[in-house]
Assembly symmetry: C2
Homo-oligomer: 405 residues x 2
């Protein structure tokens, strides 16, 4: 492949190969790459080279020296773990295949590499396999909000997700999710629907499997649309099956790519809570959408609210605010639009007086003084202020409530 | 009245009179009572005596010396405020009337005086007019939870209130509320329904008007039931109308009498939020019940959750916990009863292996090693552990998933 020549090209090929050898978050493998660089790490992982004493010490330093972390033994075990996959390595073929899908491999140092992943430190992925509108860039974390939740979402959960995704896209944010059924699917679908042309990728689906397959199968059409107008991202290479381990690691990537994670609906135990915990570990804000206390699908979000690990999110404005600095021009005042009450801004004496004023038949000032418990002078002064505000009127019989309500 | 003779009796009469002269939270009046005692305070308030220099200095000390708080002027204004009501004073008659209602006046120093009110400091009420089962005592704050919310409650709000009130009474707690329509009425009604005989007053209604009237009129039957089997409490004397000022002060008393205040449903602006703020000012825990983000009646509770001033309450156990030490025997585990998943407690290698195991046709160990990315030795060890847990089985063709799901 001509694109993969030179030092950068050789590093890309090496990382592509390593991503097939090593499962996501294989700490020994990640430490090896950090200590030896991807090309030597690949030579060591495939048994071409062996680690010398100095490299072993670097590994020990990266992994932490504990009795069970004896670096020689850990590396030996890792080599055994990687060995069965060595014969299947064909990174150039993988790179050609992703290109045929209109995609690319993004590695650290590329302009496209998301700065947000730096918070994962040693745990950052070796590379990202990407399909879709990568030319527009991978959204900045301040402009990306993860919407996650149950696969078996309710009508309520779907409606909230649709409103959040639509509102986020209208505010210039991107919606990150996992491509699964339920909340994930609704988030991607509504983000795509809300996005105009020329806005960049409205939505990112972070997958637990290789990008040559659409999983789950029922979401194939949706995921094709995401690949066409958004971004599909995976840490595992083409051909990889979606295993439980990869799902758990995928959740970590969702949390890392988004400036904030909002759980829309989640049962008491739910993968979405796992994503929320990863976000919290990374110091990223977590939001939870409240729902009926009778809905099992909100038990998980209420749990997050109760233990203080999430803030209450009721609309897109709040969700966008969590992820980054708020663009005031795009902010709305939803929920803050109740008209002021007639007694707003009144002092205690005016309140007492307002309560004392009869609605129909006027009464003299002396009577108001007794009812309100105020001296006559104060009643006269207060009536003047209330009259200015159309809260009190005087007629032949005396004072009564004014027309303003 | 023979019951009102002696020093204690004279103090009761004085406080009964003062509660008619002074509105709730009349700071000058409260300071005067604190500095001069109730009997001299009444003599000064009615113009029989005047405040000397020393007393004026004490008042200034209690009210804080600020330019606008010049004590002589403040007292002069207060005297003017109280003067129109002096001619209506008839405290012995009021005490006789409350006794005819089967009630009593409770003053500081009485055995029945709630210790919880001490947190109000100078702002504590002058006295409490009480009807109902006062003989059983006024519940301790650790055993009293205020349930408050909208007058125009929804079916959801009523159902949650009923569940909370029932669960609280079953846990030995007492339900405090304001006797209003909606959430308040539901709270009192369900608490009464859940209470057995001999449990003391299941519910306390703190009123903004005199206890000779039932307000609002539509709750008359309910309030009669509360008077018979619970407690009606007011700071204002018999004959007092429920004014807006008295409602606001009544909210403060609700917050002060309960160990915790739970807002079930509240609009963005709602008197229930006022009660919640009073509770927070007193350092008492505040709870809020989440609801649909589409319900205007939950906008206020979500506001409390979002700004961190309330914790998320989804059931009676959580509400009771807020108020005081939890009686472990009465605690339930609601919401925590989902069965454990089959992968609970498994390590990373077992998870990888479990994912690699086919469901139907068995495969050899070497194949599992490639799929799982594990050395053969580890696959063998892991299969042994999974087999013990019925998560893996061996047959003629090799290994596959076990019967446990």
């Amino acid at each position: 492949m001509s694109a993969e020549t030179g030092a950068r090209g050789r590093e890309r090929v090496a990382r592509a190969a390593l991503s097939r050898l090593m499962e996501p978050s294989d700490w020994v493998g990640l430490a090896l790459v950090a200590a030896a660089g991807p090309q030597d790490a690949l030579r060591i992982a495939t048994g071409v080279l062996a680690a010398g004493r100095r490299l072993q010490e670097d590994l020990a330093g990266l992994l932490g020296r504990r009795p069970e972390n004896e670096p020689g033994r850990m590396l030996a075990e890792a080599l055994e773990r990687w060995a069965p996959r060595v014969k299947d390595l064909a990174p150039e073929r993988d790179l050609a295949t992703i290109a045929r899908f209109g995609g690319t491999l993004v590695v650290p140092g590329d302009g496209l590499w998301p700065a947000a992943l730096a918070d994962l430190q040693l745990g950052a992925p070796l590379c990202l396999w990407v399909r879709g509108r990568a030319g527009d860039g991978i959204p900045l974390q301040e402009q990306a909000v993860a919407l996650v939740g149950s696969r078996d979402s309710t009508g309520f959960g779907n409606a909230v997700t649709a409103d959040l995704a639509t509102g986020l896209v209208q505010r210039g944010c991107h919606v990150v999710s996992g491509g699964a059924y339920g909340i994930d699917a609704q988030a991607h679908r509504s983000a795509l629907a809300a996005a105009g042309e020329g806005q960049g990728p409205a939505t990112l689906a972070v997958m637990a499997c290789g990008l040559d397959r659409y999983y789950p199968a029922g979401n194939e059409e949706l995921l094709r649309a995401v690949a066409a107008r958004g971004l599909l991202i995976a840490e595992v290479p083409l051909g990889s099956a979606p295993t439980r381990w990869r799902f758990l690691q995928r959740n970590r990537r969702i949390a890392a790519l988004a400036g904030a994670t909002v759980v829309v609906e989640a049962r008491w135990r739910s993968g979405a809570l796992n994503t929320a915990h990863h976000a919290a570990e990374l110091g990223r804000p977590v939001g939870a959408v409240p729902g009926s206390v009778y809905s099992a699908n909100s038990a998980g979000t209420h749990r997050l609210l109760r233990d203080g690990s999430a803030v209450c999110v009721t609309g897109a404005a709040g969700a966008a605010e969590l992820a980054g600095p708020v663009d005031a021009a795009r902010q709305d005042g939803a929920g803050r639009q109740e008209p002021p009450a007639d007694h707003d801004g009144l002092g205690v004496e005016e309140l007492l007086l307002l309560d004392a004023l009869p609605v129909r038949q006027g009464v003299p000032v002396e009577k108001l003084a007794v009812v309100a418990g105020l001296p006559v002078q104060r009643v006269l002064a207060g009536l003047g202020r209330l009259e200015l505000g159309a809260l009190a009127v005087q007629d032949a019989t005396g004072w009564r409530r004014g027309p303003r309500r």
